[in-house]
Amino acid sequence: MNIQAIIADLSKTDPELYDRLEHVSRRSLFNMIGRKAAQVAAPVVAMSAVNRAYGQTLPQPIVDVLNFALTLEYLEAEFYNVGMDSAGLLTGTARTVYGQIQKHENAHVKLLKDTLGTAAVAKPAFDFTAKGAFPNPFSNYQVYLTLSQAFEDTGVRAYKGQAPALISSDPILTTALRIHSVEARHAARVRMLRGEKPWITGNTSPGVPPAVYAGDESTVHLEISSIIQGIPVEQSTQAWDEPLSKEDVLKIVAPFLA
């Protein structure tokens, strides 16, 4: 998926997205292509860019997955870069924890950009208030933690959802899995900072948009039930981290695009 395809997907769920993206960057492709022409012209522009960079080396479905992942990593990296730079927000243990997470997310951005080369999407502009739904994310510690948890748990579900699409490339699949488990460690630790259990129970967490955990209560896999006598049902749900489709992830992320 190229950034235009991401935006096209997003625009289905957020009709005003194009209006907001027009000021994202004077240098970006969004501005080169007029709003109305975008859906027609953008795929052509992007495809030629990919082809120049790679010829046939990286198959388009894999480029799509990696650019989707890169978009999420941009979001996380910027959230932590700004957070670490916000005076008084992250101190003590929180600073130790977020310094480590920040390091990893920036490394993931670099790794994915290096892998994609010129096919890499540009960093979008973000609005971490999500249009005012989360006021003061960089001055209210609890809001910051809540968003961080939402981003990390969504990241886990997003990578998980894309893994089957990478089955044709062992090295890229393995790289994605090696990022995926890091996101899960981050999610677990951030949840603990909030006083939550490190694993997801059922399909909710206080203050986090419900879409982040939609379907996560599942206890049936390959038609096998994991309800076991003697084990509370909510603990059976903890044992499984469910995937999210690209579309469902983009719906969660869309409000955070400026």
Partner: protein
């Protein structure tokens, strides 16, 4: 499964080798595992070469059979082999956690007890899943020996718990590429992040308020990538606690390109 129609594996990879077991032999499952006839033949022929001295119940030993100390257990080939490999690790990890929760280490806090109870219950869930999905192709119940762990001592327990959770995560990270069926890969992904959460939680108990939860010892600080290990790296580490010998000889190898 909640994943929407996972992509089919490419032609050069074999079809699913998951067995059909009576538990879910309904039409949908049969459709999903079309091609199983070929796979069954593969497994059956592989099993005639196992070094288990006497036949146990079922071609893979049967999910309820106990292995015997000293047996050589062939994990098998294809996706069945990879799932048996995961099943072996889940068995080993669970037995350890059962011993922890049967008699908590000295001065364990209520929070620590609850963490270990939930870890144990989640691992029971994983073990039971693999046992059911593998059915008669499951390896036997392993004989596990944790006499090297001092279960009275907090550090000894936490160090072992940490090592297990890290090992399991790295094992799943390395095993994904060995699976040929996208559904099996999806299931593996659904489990691995829970193992990673376990690792972070136990590390936080062991080294609170540090970067250990995602430490530079398990995550490359330059690439941000966690360790991935192949079966021939994982099994020797886990074998410290397993009285049978696990053979990885017939497991798939990763493609290098």
């Amino acid at each position: 499964m909640k994943t929407s129609s996972p992509q089919q594996p490419p032609a050069q990879k074999p079809v699913s080798v998951l067995p059909v077991v009576p538990l879910f032999s309904g039409r949908r499952m049969f459709m999903r595992y079309a091609g199983v006839a070929t796979a069954t033949g593969l497994v059956m022929s592989a099993c005639t070469n196992t070094l288990i001295p006497e036949p146990l119940a079922g071609p893979g030993g049967g999910s309820t059979a106990n292995a015997r100390i000293g047996d050589v257990i062939d994990l098998g080939s294809g996706d069945i082999g990879v799932l048996n490999y995961a099943y072996a690790l889940e068995q080993a990890e669970l037995r350890f956690l059962e011993l922890v929760t049967d008699n908590f280490y000295d001065n364990a806090t209520e929070v620590e007890k609850q963490v270990f109870i939930e870890l144990r219950n989640q691992e029971i869930t994983h073990r039971e899943f693999f046992k059911k999905v593998l059915g008669s192709y499951a390896i036997p119940t392993l004989t596990l020996d944790y006499s090297s762990v001092n279960f009275r001592n907090r550090d000894s327990v936490l160090d072992t718990a940490m090592a297990f959770a890290d090992l399991a995560t790295s094992a799943y990270n390395g095993a994904g590429q060995l699976l040929s069926n996208a559904t099996n890969l999806a299931i593996s992904g659904i489990i691995v992040s829970v193992e990673a959460r376990h690792a972070a939680a136990v590390r936080e108990l062991r080294y609170p308020n540090t970067t250990s939860f995602a430490g530079d010892d398990v995550i490359d600080p330059v690439t941000g990538l966690e360790v991935a290990r192949l079966p021939n790296e994982v099994v020797p580490i886990a074998s410290k606690f397993i009285k049978e010998t696990l053979s990885t000889a017939n497991l798939p190898s990763p493609m290098t390109a």
